[in-house]
Subunit: 240 residues, 2 copies
């Protein structure tokens, strides 16, 4: 008796769902990002708008998307609330935990950078290089706005994290960066004003970039560690 498996019946909406889920997981769709309009997206995917809507409705009911009438459809922040949110309140009441967060970031960043050196694709490297150039442009521009420099800094590190191809790592690091951004911006200000520190950090970033581009995972990890250790040290000094 030959066994026949059930005929694979694939609903288009199911295909769309899994496709969007994958894009969210691998980072093509970042939290907070806006999706194309239903009409445009339906055309891109070569499906009808009702089918697309069925997929979007299900994803919304799962908590992955959120639609606003007249506004658009947005990707929800999935892992932030789950993993990192408790830390928000903790840091509010106990500022000294910032260094714990930084130590945590050091561990994550080290392994992310290491894996990025091992796994980065060509397009990953191009994106990283682009972020690096943007960061350098900010340095060169003599920018005085701490927020802009901090933003470029974050984007550089996140590009590396994404090249690690570990979705859990990327999501947690993204949450961590959000956490740090709102909490240490005022501290950064004093640090960044020092020309000397500026040069050090710039050199460390270059070192990280070189290691990742060359695929040298050990050097990447070590460079990342040196960078974060320096950041923690500098911040400790300035907080006294």
């Amino acid at each position: 008796m030959v066994e026949f498996s059930a005929v694979k019946v694939t609903r288009v909406s199911d295909s769309i769902i899994s496709q969007i889920e994958t894009m969210i997981l691998e980072g093509s769709l970042k939290p907070g990002e806006q999706l194309p309009s239903e009409r445009a997206l339906a055309e891109q995917l070569s499906v009808s708008r009702p089918s697309l809507r069925e997929a979007l409705m299900i994803l919304e009911s799962k908590g992955l998307l959120q639609s606003k009438r007249g506004g658009g459809t947005f990707v929800c922040d999935i892992i932030g609330p789950t993993i990192v949110e408790p830390l928000v309140y903790l840091m509010k009441s106990h500022p000294e935990t910032i260094f714990d967060v930084l130590e945590l970031r050091q561990a994550l960043e080290a392994v992310a950078t290491q894996h990025a050196a091992e796994r980065a694709t060509k397009s990953d490297r191009e994106r990283i290089k682009q972020r690096f150039d943007e960061l350098m442009a900010v340095y060169e521009g003599g920018n005085k706005d701490v927020a802009i420099e901090s933003e470029a800094d974050t984007e550089f590190h996140l590009a590396i994290a994404e090249a690690s191809h570990n979705v859990a790592l990327v999501h947690v690091m993204r949450g961590l960066f959000n956490l740090l951004r709102v909490n240490i911006l005022h501290n950064l200000k004093s640090i960044k004003e020092e020309g000397e520190s500026h040069d050090f950090i710039r050199a460390q970033h270059t070192e990280i970039l070189t290691a990742v581009m060359n695929g040298d995972s050990e050097m990447a990890r070590d460079a990342s560690n040196r960078h974060l250790i320096y950041v923690q040290k500098t911040m400790r000094e300035h907080l006294q």
Copy 2:
């Protein structure tokens, strides 16, 4: 100043959903029963068929209904637990992300164990030893309940994490454990049933304990890495 609550924006499909959910829960719709055809039902409810379909699709995605092309739509016999956590849902439909979480756990666990070896106080060590003894008791008892063993395992690792005296690290690790618990419990079952794997894991736990108790941070980190690498390897083998 009069307070105006937000205008209640009710999607038609949402109303239909809650209505059908209510009918199922209160018993008007019994498991296995067939719903009227989409056309008939749409007319009964005075809504369009697309709106009704959106509702039916969501109810199907929640596991309450099941539609068969050409057949009809039926109420499911068994109503499984509804996944509320978006991330958990994502990992269910994309199991390969479990390994990303495990890889992340490895990185965190390594640094946590290392710091625990460096910073653990006397009371920390006592608590770790206690958790370790409890875990061993579960092993000795020939316990067949995977949940209990998994619980003891988690408590042991968390006790070590707490000894790192990094609250951020502990919070994130706790979140990861929650994530893993709901996702890999059924996988663990097959793994834990092997006596051989059992012995290996037990030896690795002992190794970790020894390193932390002796304050040997390098050995602690390496032992932790070996443990997690083994867990990932074993789980990969069993998933094929």
